[in-house]
C-alpha cells in the first residue's frame, strides 16, 4: 500500500518565507521564468501582426501604449533583468563556484554555501532589476 507521503505540496514549494533570501531567490527565479515565457509567447504573437500591414501593427502597439501597458512592460523589464542577473549567479553556483570551501564542521554549524557573496548577488540582482524598472518607467512615460 502506498502511504500518504505528507508532502508539503505546492504551497510549501512556493512559500518564500521561513527560510533565507536564497529561498526567495528560488521563488523569484521560477516566477520570472514563467512570466518571461508568457511574455515571450505573447511577444511573438504581437510581432506577427506586422505581416498584416501597418494598420494591424499599429493597433497591436496601442495595447502597450496605455498606462496599464506601460506598467506591464516595466514588469517585463524587471523580470528580465532579475532572471538574467540571478541566472548568471546560478550558473556559477550550480557548477560549484562561489559556494564556499568544505571545512571541519563546528558549532554553530553555519553553512558556507549560504555565504555573503551569494546573498549580495541576490540583493544586487533585485537592485538592478529595480533600477532598470525605474529607467524603463522614465522612458515609457517620458514619451
Amino acid at each position: 500500500m502506498k502511504r500518504n507521503e505528507n508532502k508539503e505540496g505546492i504551497k510549501g514549494m512556493a512559500n518564500p518565507g521561513r527560510y533565507g533570501i536564497e529561498r526567495v531567490s528560488y521563488w523569484l527565479m521560477r516566477i520570472t521564468g514563467l512570466g518571461l515565457l508568457a511574455y515571450f509567447i505573447g511577444h511573438i504573437y504581437e510581432t506577427s501582426s506586422i505581416l498584416s500591414g501597418k494598420a494591424a501593427w499599429d493597433s497591436m502597439l496601442e495595447l502597450t501604449q496605455t498606462t496599464q501597458g506601460h506598467v506591464f512592460l516595466t514588469l517585463v523589464i524587471g523580470m528580465c533583468v532579475f532572471h538574467t542577473a540571478n541566472g548568471m549567479r546560478l550558473m556559477f553556483a550550480h557548477g560549484g563556484i562561489g559556494v564556499g570551501k568544505p571545512t571541519r564542521p563546528d558549532y554553530p554549524y553555519l553553512p558556507n554555501s549560504q555565504n555573503m557573496k551569494n546573498k549580495l548577488c541576490i540583493y544586487a540582482s533585485i537592485g538592478i532589476a529595480a533600477l532598470a524598472m525605474m529607467y524603463g518607467l522614465s522612458v515609457l512615460f517620458g514619451e
Binding site: 521560477r30 518571461l36 509567447i41 510581432t47 501593427w57 550550480h94
Partner: protein, 115 residues
Amino acid sequence: MRESIIMKIHYGTALGAVVLVAVHILYRITMMSFGDSLEYENVVANYKFVPYAIMLELILVLLSVHGFNGLRVILLELKQGKSYEKVVTYGCLASMAILIAYGSRTILMTSMGMT
C-alpha cells in the same frame, strides 16, 4: 537524451541569449527614441537588415528551447508518473516547435518583403 545534456543546453541557450537580448533591447533605445523604434517602417527596416533578422531568429530558437525546457522542469517537479511525464516532455517539445515555426514565419516573410 541524458538529463545532463538537456541541462547543458538549458544553460548554453541562456548564456547565448544574454548577449542577443541585450542587443535587441538596446536597439530600442540607442538608435532613436523608444517610440520611433516601434514605428512600422523602422521595424520593417529592422527585419530587412539581414544580420539583425538572423539575430532575431537566434533569440527565437534559443529562448524557445530555454523557456519550454524550463517549463518542463517545473512540470516534472510538480507531479510524477510515467504517462504524465511523457505528456509533459512531448507537449513541451511540440509547443517549442510550434512557437519557433510561427516566429520564423514572421521573420522570414517580413525580411523577404512579403508584408
